[in-house]
């Protein structure tokens, strides 16, 4: 048992991090997703990591960095579908996610669809009657409302569905941990720089306690996501319990930290100009993907003794 990052994992993290800093500054992120983003991430190996011999834990480390930089795009779906679909692949889980709201429809070549029987692949070109939202909640994630999805080609059954739901929840969880971390960093920096009553607002307990809670929430969620990723790679305990717990904590950490960051930034947190709202909006969006917090809490509870059991 050694739950520390290995030297290789630290190198992977640092590599993705420096690429994000140089290639995906907020100015570019604000332009949204396009083929150049996809191609660059592809070159960096983000989609092919596991085909290249890395584990889900390694992929989670990479996705946390992507989340920290708020890189837009259907990145988790692209990672899941790597090797099974060519071109830009988005995705949707029509069983778990409710109404058919498709992300990045104009930018993708194909849509991976998780349905009751497994996974199918639908070419984007054959999806018609899609209504674009003029004002998507997350400005960096355009969405279309789709009436009925064409059948497309089945690429996997229940086994693939199960695998994708677990892996997708872990990777979205990792991305959400990155968002939680970025919200903490932005808020700490702002609290050191913003002065009121002749001193940095970060010296006041009313503010610094919010920041301490943000940091703790992020660290707890990160440990949980890493544990879930390791458990999928090498099952030691109940995989569903570990994965659901991780998605739940990561989703809550990202949203709670997004809200806290808005508060710490005061009036500036309510402006379009400051980046905080982009993180919060993505956290809300990803909270609806690969299972909601409530559904995951129920899944964890189902792993506990039932009423009347002898624990």
């Amino acid at each position: 048992m050694n739950f520390d990052l290995t030297a290789d994992q630290e190198a992977l993290r640092d590599g993705i991090r420096s690429r994000c800093v140089s290639r995906f500054p907020m100015k570019r992120v604000r332009d949204g997703f396009d083929r150049s983003v996809w191609d660059e991430l592809g070159e960096a190996g983000v989609f092919s990591l596991r085909a290249d011999g890395f584990g889900l834990a390694d992929a989670a480390i990479a996705f946390e960095e992507l989340g920290r930089a708020l890189v837009p795009g259907p990145l988790v779906w692209g990672h899941l579908a790597a090797g099974r679909a060519g071109g830009i692949t988005g995705g949707i889980d029509v069983v778990a996610d409710g109404p058919v709201i498709v992300e990045h429809l104009d930018a993708i070549d194909a849509l991976a669809v998780i349905d009751a029987e497994g996974v199918r692949l639908v070419p984007a070109a054959v999806i018609d009657g899609a209504e674009p939202a003029a004002r998507p909640l997350d400005p960096l994630t355009p969405v279309h409302r789709v009436g009925r999805l064409p059948d497309g080609d089945r690429i996997g059954g229940i086994d693939l569905l199960t695998q994708w739901r677990l892996e997708g929840a872990v990777l979205i969880g990792a991305f959400l941990v990155g968002i939680a971390r970025a919200c903490t960093d932005l808020s700490v920096a702002y609290a050191q720089e913003r002065r009121q009553f002749d001193r940095p607002i970060g010296s006041f307990q009313a503010v610094k306690h919010i920041l301490a809670d943000m940091a703790v929430r992020t660290e707890v969620a990160r440990a949980s996501v890493h544990a879930a990723a390791c458990t999928v790679d090498d099952p030691q305990m109940e995989v569903t319990r570990a994965v659901s717990g991780a998605k739940l904590l990561a989703g809550d950490a990202a949203v709670t930290n997004g809200l806290a960051a808005t508060q710490v930034h005061g009036g500036m947190g309510f402006t379009w100009e400051v980046d905080v709202h982009l993180y919060l909006k993505r956290a809300w969006l990803l909270g609806t993907a690969f299972g909601t917090s409530g559904a995951h809490a129920d899944t964890v509870a189902d792993c506990l003794p039932a009423k009347g059991d002898t624990p």
Binding site: M1, F3, A215, E219, A242, L248, D309
Partner: protein, 385 residues
């Protein structure tokens, strides 16, 4: 990053499991809550059994009678003893989990030889004398005076919240040795033999109706200078060492027990809203256990448990409060009787754990420490210095 225990960890686990299966049925019945003499006997007897079987002081070096076990073996020990519902450390808490480790780091050879093996064998019980009525969160404002007189310090003052004060043989005592120095620089850390003349212990009745804490009054108590741990007036630094154990590692066994309580509570819970909350709390406790594994792994590599250790106490005590509240909600009116069969213990736990967000540094003090030491935020302006 991997969570798999090694073959030797698993061998340790099966050996321990077999020993527990033999040892636990031989234990006498657990004594009543307020029978402190019997509780001391029970807890130190269990400690002696652990010692004889080679399971005492797993993390302690062999030269002090410990096992020098790997960090993962320590985690296996906690997992197995909790699963088997073995007794917890009880009155040995202070000695094993923070006084002992402090002596190991800061004590003289004589102090180590005198106390460490005795703590491990269950021959010596320790209590804590840090807080004072006017020095709680602002601990460095403590006023208990120690005046040097020959080979002794003459100590006068009052301590409060002394854990296990009624049964302690020795106390961790903080005193002011230089009243003229700035408050953090005039403190010394002493070993207080509790049978010295001039010491009066008065139990405090807690919200539980129990008395694990006491007030200790010191009236010209002569403590040998040889009992000082660390240099004179360097006691605040030694205190930080004690805190690093008290806040960083002493909570880990609590956490494992909370996971057991969660299972017990789940077996009583049908309501979907309550079960969803249980799922949420389970996820948090699982995550804190993962974070503990991370801290332990980092400590093994770097010698310091890293940022996570500072966070564990805050996060755990807040999660534990949620679990406690949920337990009362689930029990409903069945929880109105502290002696109710099966569930009374759960209600008692809710009361006991009200102290977790206060003891060993309140949640507010922990947040100050995290924001200043980890996040680098400026200190809050002080009214007076």
């Amino acid at each position: 990053m991997d969570l798999k225990y090694s073959e030797s960890d698993e061998a340790f686990r099966s050996e321990l499991r077999a020993w527990l299966a033999r040892a636990l049925p031989e234990l006498p019945a657990h004594p009543g809550r307020e029978d402190w003499k019997a509780r001391r006997r029970f807890d130190t007897d269990w400690q002696r059994r652990l010692f004889d079987a080679g399971y005492a002081g797993l993390s302690w070096p062999r030269e002090y009678g410990g096992r020098d076990a790997s960090p993962s073996e320590q985690l296996v020990f906690l997992e197995e003893t909790t699963a088997a519902r073995a007794p917890n450390v009880g009155v040995n808490f202070v000695g094993l989990l923070h006084a002992g480790p402090t002596l190991m780091t800061e004590g003289t050879d004589e102090q180590k030889a005198r106390h460490l093996p005795a703590i491990l064998r269950g021959d010596e019980v320790w209590c804590q004398g840090f807080s004072e009525p006017a020095a709680g969160s602002d601990l460095a404002a403590l006023r208990t005076r120690a005046v040097r007189d020959g080979d002794d310090y003459v100590v006068t003052g009052q301590k409060i919240w002394c854990s296990f004060g009624q049964v302690g043989d020795f106390g961790e005592l903080l005193v002011r040795t230089d009243p003229d120095a700035p408050k953090h620089r005039g403190i010394s850390w002493l070993i207080l033999p509790m049978d010295l003349p001039g010491i009066e212990v008065r139990p405090i009745e807690t919200v539980l109706g129990s008395s694990e804490f006491s007030e200790v009054f010191l009236d010209e108590v002569r403590v040998p200078v040889a009992n000082r741990v660390g240099a004179e007036n360097d006691g605040w630094r030694v205190t930080q060492v004690t805190f690093s154990f008290e806040r960083g590692t002493a909570f880990v066994s609590e956490m494992v027990e909370a996971r057991r309580l969660l299972d017990d509570l789940a077996a009583l819970t049908a309501d979907q809203v309550d079960r969803r909350e249980l799922g949420h709390i389970a996820a948090e406790l699982d995550a804190l256990w993962a974070l503990t594994k991370r801290n332990v792994s980092q400590a093994a590599r770097t010698g310091s448990p890293g940022d996570g250790a500072l966070m564990i106490k805050l996060a755990y005590s807040e999660t534990r409060a949620r679990l406690g509240e949920l337990s009362l909600r689930v029990l409903g009116r069945a929880g109105l009787d502290l002696d109710a069969p099966e569930v009374g213990e759960m209600v008692e736990e809710r009361l006991r754990t009200l102290s977790l967000t206060i003891a060993a540094g309140t949640s507010q003090i922990q947040r100050n420490i995290i924001s200043e030491r980890l996040l680098g935020l400026p200190r809050e302006p002080m009214m007076t210095l």
